[in-house]
Amino acid sequence: MLRFDLKDFIGGFILFAIGLTAAGYAATEYSLGSLRRMGPGMFPVGIAGILAGLGLVVMVQSLFRPPERADIRIWSPLFVLSSIAIFALTIPHFGLIPAIIGITVVSSMAELKVRPANLALLCLALSLLTPFVFRVCLGLQIAMFDWPF
């Protein structure tokens, strides 16, 4: 059994790592300038440095704290996030309707329970409703179908 709060330790470390990387990157890639005339690198380096420092504080504090149980689930977030990714992949190549069906089907699986009839109805309803709202009411120019072949 761990004696300290591993969750905060990891969280703090991630912030520390982001801060350090960003500070290092900004310091090498962008000119710092002087305090009188600051270059594009100065402010980012400062902020990233502060972030790294605060991350370090979170890490150190976690060592003196009892562990807290983290509430982590894997499948629901995975399905939700991949449904967004599928939307992003589909829409430029296949158009809106395939993207709607893709995101609806994949995200519905996040419930870890498939209801085929419900799902089919939802796909149909959203495929009719969203084009109506975005194309007709708002006049957005999104292609409904955009087959690559």
């Binding site: 996030l81 419900n118 969203t130």
Partner: protein, 505 residues
């Protein structure tokens, strides 16, 4: 009188057909979102944000603001009928609202909270009308050093006063500022943190960030948790909403006290409607002659918090519109909406955009009247909304988020950004990092950098400028005080919680 002339002009703007329509739409959508648990106000505003792109800036703001105060009206419905707060600001309403519903007085509770909401909002709007121009005209004298200090104070207050660890809040502000810096540097035209991507030159999309961190992460957290429960439709029939004379008599003073407290806490950065509602409930319980009735359906226990959170909703606009310094993540989104429409926020807003400012304020009246009409006769409709199963709702929410993001640029990159911030948002929930400071930092980051650099040029590279100019020095001193106080109380809170935990086990 100048004020009356301005009010007349504002009313003219607010009553134009388009603006009334969008005000209605915003209030309607806000109530809807407030009623449905599992979709928060930030998610709602960012989701509907792209819809306002094609509108005039005034109309866009009127609609977004309508969503914001509409959710607080609607949120009480879920609190009372389901014992689930529709928004965090309505959480306290559960304590006495749900027992009232169980006693068959749900209709009375819904009716009276709507009245309290309207009363609180009215007080808030009146203060907003009176104080915003005064503060703005004073702030016209501010230089870059003062602005930097003010923004710093806003960020420090918002990240340390809210619940949870002060250090984590501050870290999220820093991370938010860092995200805000992505894109072209306004002063040197250098591309920063773009890694060669042309799409990132314009910076990270505010909408993608807000929708990912709040919308997507919230959907993930709510899946398989939000259930729909049974409601007795009989208890909310129209005949059951008439309050007794005793109810009315008991409600007056809690409404007045609630509005006063709400107005005060609404203006402060970091506090806002949730804290205002909570404190006003505590005050009512303390000064009541019969504190034992609280928690068992005392009407005072719903009137004070609902008046307070609505008053706070309105007064939150005071610092945002007069100084351009938002006190909460929602106000940061409002500010973002202004900037996307090319309007510079700050004390000059009132004089340079009088139509927008006074039109927006007068639209609050229109919106609150619309909400009054929407809520009282339509209570039954809102109750039915609670019965929409979540498994149909969340794919639709995700779809709207994605199309919304895509429609801002017609580039899949925006959708990928939503995905990225969805991952980040979920990770933040796991690690207990708050999202609101991230958004505030993101919006204020570029402005802060600009003022910081300008102040340093003017002072010839001397940091002392922030402490030598009297106004800036005073703000810095307050900031320091808030910082120390915030860290101290959050440590104390944690210690107490740890002790309780140790005692339980």
């Amino acid at each position: 009188m100048e004020l009356l002339g301005n009010l007349g002009m504002g009313l003219g703007v607010a009553l134009s057909l388009t603006n009334v329509f969008y005000c209605f739409l915003g209030a309607l959508l806000g109530t809807l979102v407030g009623v449905i648990p599992g979709v928060g106000v930030l998610a709602a505003i960012s989701m509907l944000f792209p819809l306002t792109f094609t509108l005039e800036p005034t109309t866009a703001l009127i609609m977004l603001a309508g969503i914001w105060y509409g959710t607080t009206y609607g949120g009480s419905t879920a609190s009372i009928l389901l014992n689930i707060p529709g928004t965090p600001a309505n959480a306290v309403t559960c304590l006495d609202g749900y027992p009232m519903a169980q006693q068959g007085r749900g209709g009375v509770a819904l009716f009276m909270t709507t009245v309290a909401s309207f009363f609180g909002a009215s007080v808030g709007v009146i203060l907003l009308m009176l104080f915003t121009p005064v503060i703005a005209s004073y702030a016209l004298k501010f230089g870059s050093a003062e602005y930097f200090s003010l923004m710093l104070m806003g960020l420090v207050a918002a990240s340390t006063i809210s619940d949870g660890s002060a250090i984590k809040g501050l870290a999220m502000v820093a991370l938010g500022i860092l995200f805000g810096l992505v894109g072209m540097d306004t002063q040197s035209a250098a591309a920063r943190f773009t890694f060669g991507s042309l799409g990132l030159l314009d910076g990270i999309s505010l909408i993608a960030l807000a929708m990912g961190v709040f919308g997507v992460a919230e959907v993930i957290m709510s899946i398989r948790r939000v259930g729909t429960s049974s409601i007795d439709p009989e208890s909310v029939k129209l005949k059951a909403i008439k309050p007794t004379r005793d109810d009315v008599r008991r409600s007056w003073m809690p409404m007045v006290r609630g509005s006063t407290m709400g107005s005060f806490f609404g203006t402060l950065p970091g506090t806002g409607p949730s804290i205002a509602a909570f404190l006003s409930y505590a005050v009512e319980k303390r000064i009541s002659k019969t504190p034992e009735r609280f928690g068992k359906g005392a009407i005072e226990g719903i009137m004070a918090p609902e008046a307070a959170n609505n008053a706070a909703d309105q007064t939150a606009f005071i610092p945002t519109l007069s100084l351009g310094v938002p006190g909460s993540a929602t106000m940061a989104l409002m500010l973002g909406a202004l900037m996307i429409h090319g309007i510079a926020p700050g004390p000059t807003l009132i004089t340079s955009q009088p139509q927008l400012f006074w039109g927006l304020i007068m639209s609050f009246w229109v919106g609150n009247v619309i909400l009054l009409i929407l809520n009282i006769p339509l209570i039954g409709v809102w109750v039915r909304m609670l019965m929409i199963p979540y498994h149909l709702l969340f794919p639709s929410v995700l779809l709207f988020i994605c199309i919304g993001a895509y429609s801002t640029t017609y580039n899949a990159l925006s959708v990928w950004q939503v995905c990225f911030f969805g991952v980040a948002g979920y990770a933040m929930r796991i690690f207990g990092f708050p999202g609101a400071p991230l958004l505030l930092g993101f919006v204020l980051g570029p402005l802060m950098e600009e003022h910081f650099r300008r102040a340093m040029v003017l002072s010839r590279g001397d940091f002392a400028t922030f402490f030598e100019r009297p106004v800036s020095a005073a703000i810095m001193a307050i900031t320091g005080g808030i910082l120390i106080w915030g860290i101290w109380t959050s440590n104390k809170l944690r210690k107490r919680r740890a002790e309780e935990l140790a005692r339980e086990t």
